[in-house]
Symmetry: D2
Subunit: 484 residues, 4 copies
């Protein structure tokens, strides 16, 4: 309904009423104008119908939705199913063009605006949560691992001789695969145990750089967000090494957007040294379904643009649609509230896990550098690795998802590489442990439920463990399960 | 509503009525059983509410939707926005795991089933449309170009020495980028002009293989679907060369699923020679939004599985959701109807374009090997390249999208590679031309509209062209536009 | 997106692209302008997203959706559930005001426009399908029966002495209840058998008018659409009687909008005599869910307005929303196509039923005046009334709904009134029969299925009937059912 | 997905994973079982996808959604538009049958279950909020006024001589129209001023009963929820009069469900005297769109059933769908929270209005018996009635909806009845006033906004008023508006 339409309604209802309605239309139009003007996450949440009206307007700007369109190509954005059309807001052309995933599509102006707008809003979010001097970002419709791979492929062009990627070990499979799938050789830097924490071995990095030769190193691939007892890498120092040695620095910030500490680390690293790009997951940080990642940078050296043009072809618009909707519906106020709540949950969970550990004769590992997750020793079960594993299964069966139980002797081969102590980020941690995270979107009820279930399950597994040691027949153990 | 629920309803309505309703529930359950049993595209279309009920059931099997779930990890599938949750059917975990894009996720059983089921249905479709002996496929949430790149990265592991990709020229940017982004050196095989057609230069391929050495060639990268006057590559012969020289063969079948001829070519190539994988776009063939591609194979050599495990990390479930919905809503009968209609449109368009060409003193180029697109010479405009380009713009302004107008002298640089005659698949085609396609989903009205608009616009541009030659002031030309 | 918004997008995508998109927005705006200007069913169907955009615009004009609204009353259109909000397009205030169901609500300008617009479109439809001189109509959120009741209540004010309603018998319960619930005494006019048809007894009507005295008769309540062998009332003659005797005439045209014959009858009656109002169901004629009816008139005497102001209070907007969506999505071309298809189905069904009747030694009753339904004798089953009834149940069990099997001896009491031969519109029809309709929206497949199922079921029931007569044990009969 | 389906999925994902998913399905099935078993509003809110799954299951039980249905009637629930189908969950048959709005439809078992279930849940809600001994209720798809009319029509059958309805005056148009549209003569009982409150004149009621004769009185029609300074009728005493005189008693409890005081009044009246039925609006109490009302009773005398069978014909299922969704999504806990919040808002608003009144030299009228609304005198404006009216308009223009400004001298004619002081529930209240309500669903922000806007607007109107008295040119006043 534009102003002409409103005037036409004069014949249906009194003109004075129309005026009141006009005011309302104007205020909604102002909301949209403000968004298009500032390209930032709005302070206050938007109502869902206004978001959908915006998406509908954008989709009308794509050629497949023109009333008199006539498609003579091989890709005309035709959608067979009404269900599919409707759930995609009739945005059929994806984002980007064959040469560049951020390029504007002449056939799909609405989708192009959506993508540009969403990218700008995401950049604003990145700045708001701590990377204040970030200059640009792109959204790619792939998970973190593939996005890291894309960054490595991008670096290759400018470093044709480089074969190695220096990588402080983090036992997360897709990180590792991103390097080998891209055709590079990971140089694993084992972590150093400091107290209970596993920290970056800076000396070893320096040594490797020297030994391999800067020009043969594609980049250093560091990590912020990780599971305790590993803690975020010493980003500042790594960034300095990179700067000094003229080596690119790619940071895996998978779920670090939600932590002001991780973001502060990044910001400092960029200030003091070199950070070429940092990569984060959309789903882990912004509560959207799996499917997209964000590559961001503090520089204006064109790296982000090169990443975009390394992506060969168009991409699904789904991640951008989900992100745009979510950021409008959340608003900056909502986002800040979520971040605040996450911190509170972290503190609550740490305190409760501490009590729980004491109760069971275990201890909460001291990992003050890890702002998101924490670990409790399972020393009681040491030597009975199958009970450690079973503890994990039991938690999963009781609908505790995401809690990781890490035994001591796990081995793993990825490609031609073998790891000892896989899962613990080092060859041999001092004890098996359980690690849990306080991630964004968790609520307090969940924290309480988590504590309760761990308590109950651990009690049970210890009973089993003792029974096994004392060879009490297992039927008794089983019956105790049934009463659960 | 299961049978117990129905029984409980006895207290609300007479039992005899319940029985009738039970019958209906049973028949819908049978539909689902049949799908799960056979894992094929159903013969008849499904109603949209039944499709949504299936998706809703699947989503209830993902841990983020468990009533008593308690998430302690960093990725728990939490969705902030109800709009986003609803448009994704609350399927938040994507598909695949960090090590393999087809792996089953313990946290997301429903999403995993959806992906497996969808993959099996897509395989059935591939067989139904002509690749009868195809053995496996995967759906990847990337466009054709990136998917080709993934195939090349996969081949690298088993051919560590290989640096070259032999590539019969096709002027489509993302195809070319897929090779250079992956870090390989494309060896361009220029096409040979036979009559009006541009065909594969088999001799040159053989020569290059010999010259480079088989072990240095990563693969031959051929193409089926393409814009006339280029025609599909001589797949059978290429496949034989590959077999004889032990070189992998990756086929870009971007929009070839819709053409029985392209599929027949592929099937024959596999029978007579070597085809490692063929890649096709979901959107161009199956009328879903941009976002996914399919890698398929005739072999059981594990290549498809290797591609899946080269993809580092999870992927968006959106392409699989769109594909599943579409194939259920289309049914085999609907698909066949669309393919039939496409062929009819092709014939209709060819005949009408032929008449149009004659009317304007041009000719429809004879490209019998191209089953999807056709080209009309623009010899009238030869020598006035800016009018050729303007003709294209005018068509676009009149909402004709996808028609390509190809001038003679176009130059293009991609990465460090330069092309002459870019767009025409050869250095110098004999005339500028207009090319249009009869793609799946086009309807007859569109064909007629297309002919009409080309006619009108060409008349106009010829008038301009003549005016320019005769230096008639442009105001007259403009006024003729206004009467349009 | 208004023009200012488009201009703002200049910073996100090239201005030339925006121009193309602007064109598209304009063409959609023109569609809406045309609708608001002419207030008629559009010639061509609208796309669903444009319909939803219109509804969304309208809902933004209601005060409950104002961004800064502040509600201090007892009814502020607040909606608790997002699901409910979304399915009602956030239109919460219903239609009408306490004094008049068509009144404009200051608080709900969008809802008011929607209702006015919908009413005008419905009036256009009524004219298009045959009541060319209809002058006004209203949509009421009640079924046909309650709407007739509302008409009777409205007439009471101007005819305070009137106690009787003259009513040519039609065995449809809600018609009858509409009169007694309103507090009037129905004067039943039994139908006369002419050939196979049951037709209006005009003499008896005249006699009753004379006997009761015009001023004591509230109105004559006639019927168009009905089940064969009853046929539409002699509307022209009744209308003349009404005119001559100064008695109002209310026509129950429940599902007559779909039949040009019924509409012609109405138009002629209005031309030659008196028709105060005709009432029709929304769901039966316009393929929307049950819930609304339309009262229409040929006159400008204010009767329709009086009906509107007799309805005490606001009403659900649902019927108007469903009607508006449907008429836009159908378009006049779609409506005409449906009407044409219905006629073809009627002819097809009549021919096939005729063959079927012959095959089974029955006959299709000759009811040429009934344009929608037809009846087949069940003389074979005469005397075995329980088999007649069972035949009906069997058809229902086989998912044939709506087919009516009418035995001879049915009795029914409604309120204090008793009917013999209830269901057959007369005390004693000459044979039991089966009646089926060719209603709007039925497709040819359904017709064929119907014939097939009647054939099969009748064969079976005849076998049972014969078995019963010959006392063959029922087990045999049952086994034949299993093979079905 | 039933258990068989899950088993079939064994071939797609490991059986152990299926087991976990099965658990989740079971817990959701248990939720549904619990609902069907107890037929009460669930304690905790349901998730929207589970609600939609339930609705989808129900709709599959309606014959129009049978896979092999074959419709041969005139009403087969066919829906033309997918939009309409989807927003109505494909529930097309409405509720009730021609003879009874609560009757089960053989053709529409799912809709019938939905309606029965919803009715039972609503009855549970009525009991939970205070009418503990309520025995039955029905949902009717009409607003409060029409529903009262239906009650009066129902009473007529058993009281054929009765012509009068005794009605303590409440200036709400649809209440009054419900009586005259039904054909009865309202006997208006003027309210008595006690302090600031307008209360029921019990003596006058008794006198009228005596004067008219019990048998000539159809019923007493009392009111609970109303705008201050009128307060709820003396229900207990009226109920006793009804009992003693054998006169039916219908209570208009329009928005009283939200107030424990109104509900307590009703419960007491039923305990001590006679209450035949009490009628309430769905939208005003349960935050759904306008469209339905609830008739409830404390008795088992069949009155509710008679009301249901007086409604002639089917009814829209929309109100029941909206109510069912809302009650499931709200849960008892949500409902209680809303009621608690409403009380808090009432207290807050009363305190703030009191301060505001003092500030402006007015007073908050003392109306302790009115639990929902309150009134502030506008004595300052007395004698300048056009300023009183203008004050109302100005509030409305500033998006304050629902606040009523009541001048002294308003006259109104409804039908043949004339009222003086219309709007104030009495011929001449002591001062003009402003009345506002604290209704369910209002939030604290709105309360604060309301106070602020009233303050600002009243300041302005007083300035105008003074200016007018002092004849200051109006331009000054206007400019002050601009600064607003």
């Amino acid at each position: 309904m534009n102003n002409n339409h409103l005037k036409q309604c004069d014949k249906l209802v009194p003109a004075s009423y129309i005026k009141q309605a006009e005011q309302s239309c104007t205020s909604i139009n102002n909301l949209i104008s403000h968004l298009l003007e500032h390209k930032k996450i709005p302070e206050d949440p938007w109502r869902s119908d206004i978001i959908e009206a915006l998406l509908s307007s954008l989709s009308q700007m794509d050629s497949n939705n023109f009333l008199s369109s006539c498609g003579a190509g091989e890709r005309e954005g035709r959608i067979f199913s009404e269900l599919v059309a409707s759930r995609n807001y009739r945005l059929a052309h994806g984002v980007g063009r064959s040469g560049d995933v951020t390029a504007v599509q002449p056939k799909a102006v609405g989708s192009s605006i959506l993508n540009q707008l969403c990218t700008r809003i995401v950049l604003d979010i990145i700045r708001q949560v701590g990377a204040e001097t970030a200059t640009s970002c792109i959204i790619v419709p792939m998970a973190t691992g593939m996005t890291l791979l894309l960054c490595f492929l991008t670096l290759r062009t400018s470093r044709p001789k480089a074969k190695y990627i220096i990588w402080p070990r983090i036992d997360q499979k897709s990180c590792f695969k991103s390097m080998i799938s891209a055709g590079f050789e990971p140089v694993v830097i084992e972590n150093k145990l400091k107290g209970d924490e596993l920290r970056t071995d800076l000396e070893m990095i320096k040594e490797k750089v020297k030994h391999l030769g800067s020009e043969n190193v594609l980049c250093i691939h560091s990590t912020t967000s990780c599971f305790a007892p590993r803690v975020p890498d010493r980003l500042e120092e790594i960034a300095k090494i990179c700067k000094e040695n003229d080596i690119p620095h790619i940071v895996n910030n998978a779920y670090g957007l939600q932590s002001s500490k991780c973001m502060h680390l990044l910001q400092q690293a960029a200030r003091l040294g070199r950070v070429d790009a940092f990569v984060q997951s959309c789903d882990k940080n912004l509560l959207v379904p799996v499917g997209g990642a964000i590559v961001a940078s503090f520089n204006k050296d064109g790296f982000i643009e090169n990443v975009a043009s390394t992506y060969a072809g168009r991409a699904s618009a789904s991640p951008a649609i989900d992100l745009l909707i979510t950021s409008l519906q959340m608003g900056l106020s909502g986002l800040k509230q979520l971040l605040k709540q996450r911190k509170e949950n972290y503190n609550y969970l740490r305190d409760e896990m501490c009590k729980l550990a004491e109760k069971h004769g275990e201890q909460l590992l001291a990992t003050p550098h890890n702002p998101i997750s924490m670990a409790m020793s399972l020393s009681t079960l040491a030597g009975m690795e199958k009970h450690v594993t079973e503890f994990g299964s039991m938690l999963f069966t009781r609908n505790v998802s995401g809690a990781r139980v890490v035994p001591l002797d796990s081995k793993k081969t990825i490609g031609s590489y073998s790891f000892t102590g896989y899962g613990s980020h080092c060859d041999q941690y001092k004890c098996p442990y359980l690690t849990v995270a306080a991630a964004i979107g968790m609520n307090k009820d969940e924290c309480q439920l988590l504590i309760k279930r761990i308590d109950k399950t651990f009690t049970e597994i210890k009973f089993k463990n003792n029974s096994a040691k004392n060879k009490i027949p297992s039927t008794i153990t089983q019956s105790s399960q049934l009463n659960n």
